[in-house]
Symmetry: C2
Subunit: 251 residues, 2 copies
């Protein structure tokens, strides 16, 4: 039985804690955080909740905090033993070099406390500084997910950028589509079959082959009309930049 400590009380920490609690071979010993109120949801999940400074030693310690807070956590770490890892897609592994055994444990998913997730389906990307760290982090990852990959810091940075396009930017395109629907009292949910098919085509075939629309065929009449339909200047810029990039992609 390996003990695990999670530092952080956000969405990643929450889903990770619930998943670790549910798998055999691991004990979620501690969840540590600054704000007592934020620790409340972890009461029934972790054996112990406390401030970082008071956290007892664990076999594996996972720092699941905002990117900019990782270095503060490192500077306040109450022990250096065991394996330490962070969950960031964009931060390099070496910001944990204060520890002897360290690595990265990056689950590729969008996490929200209100939405239950099946951790088995979430790809986990591992990087490690020592063989010990690699073995421990891969062991935990395989206990949680059926999809575990090794990935170095450079490639992980690329994957994180790809995820910004695939999640953050597609979601914002949907937010704009939602606004446009609302303006005309059209139910946004009517777009769901279109979206599901879009995702299916992109992954079953290839998004490059699946592209359609006025920008691809440089239909200037529609492009000019649609630009005029958009009210917010920032949305016009999104429309122009995406149309231009699509057109150049197939030139």
């Amino acid at each position: 039985m390996s003990s695990v400590t999670i530092i952080g009380t956000g969405n990643v920490a929450y889903h990770l804690a619930k998943a670790i609690k549910a798998v055999p071979g691991y004990e979620l010993a501690v969840v540590a955080g600054r704000t007592p109120d934020n620790l409340v949801p972890f009461k029934g999940i972790a054996r112990h909740i406390c401030k970082l400074e008071d956290a007892p030693v664990s076999d594996i310690t996972i720092i699941a905090v905002a990117d900019d807070a990782i270095e503060t956590v490192v500077s306040k770490a109450p022990y250096t033993s065991g394996v330490w890892a962070h969950t960031s897609g964009s931060k390099p592994m070496k910001i944990l070099q204060h520890f002897t055994h360290y690595g990265v444990f990056y689950p590729l998913q969008t996490f929200s406390k209100a939405v239950p997730l099946d951790f088995k389906e979430i790809p986990i990307f591992i990087e490690a500084h020592t063989d010990d760290a690699l073995e421990q982090l891969r062991g935990l990852a395989f206990a949680l997910s059926k999809n575990v990959q090794n990935l170095n810091s450079q490639a992980r940075k690329q994957l994180h950028l790809a995820a910004v396009f695939a999640n953050n930017f597609t979601n914002h395109c949907l937010a704009i589509a939602n606004d446009i629907c609302n303006e005309s009292a059209i139910d946004f949910k009517l777009l769901k079959p279109l979206l599901e098919q879009t995702i299916k085509n992109a992954f079953d075939q290839n998004p490059k082959l699946a592209q359609t629309g006025p920008a691809k065929r440089l239909d200037k009449t529609i492009i000019i009309k649609q630009l005029a339909q958009l009210k917010k200047p920032a949305q016009k810029e999104v429309y122009k930049a995406l149309s231009n990039s699509i057109f150049k992609y197939y030139e």
Copy 2:
């Protein structure tokens, strides 16, 4: 039994023809097109294939051609009887005013010949100039789909713009994500669970609430680094425009 003629041999025509062939109460009498080779796939589906000029009279005639070709079809129409409709999201109904009974029959989906579709799940938006046209077009739409809505030309133009964001633009974001993965030999398919969750959150909750990422929290350090990671200028512009629009959205 109502007879239906489809003018056009593209992706929309193909899926519509197959769907009409499969429902009771309608006979797919004719598929008409300019190029004999393009008519070949319709041989087993329509009773008759021919050039537009040779098409015999039908109860319902659906013009499923590219937006810019609709007016040419109208000018060459060999008869004006029955109900005529086009399938365009962006063209107004009145471009069919040459006919007595006319309207619009807009199925909201992305169509590709290679990908089978369940027409029952595709929302169909109807507009009609006469009660006769409305009755006939709604009848056909309800035979094909469980989701039929009336929508005027102005609102349909808005819906089409929403669909450009939801399909064309999200697909291009995925094409860029695919390229970024390829550069680092990362399997693009690893992003599929992230995308499925993104779509689920956007429709179960609301895309505005589901937004995360560096642009929303104006994390300039990551934004500058990620801009530097992108190689194509057009992709940098997409990144900038979307990040700026996201930031302004939550200001």
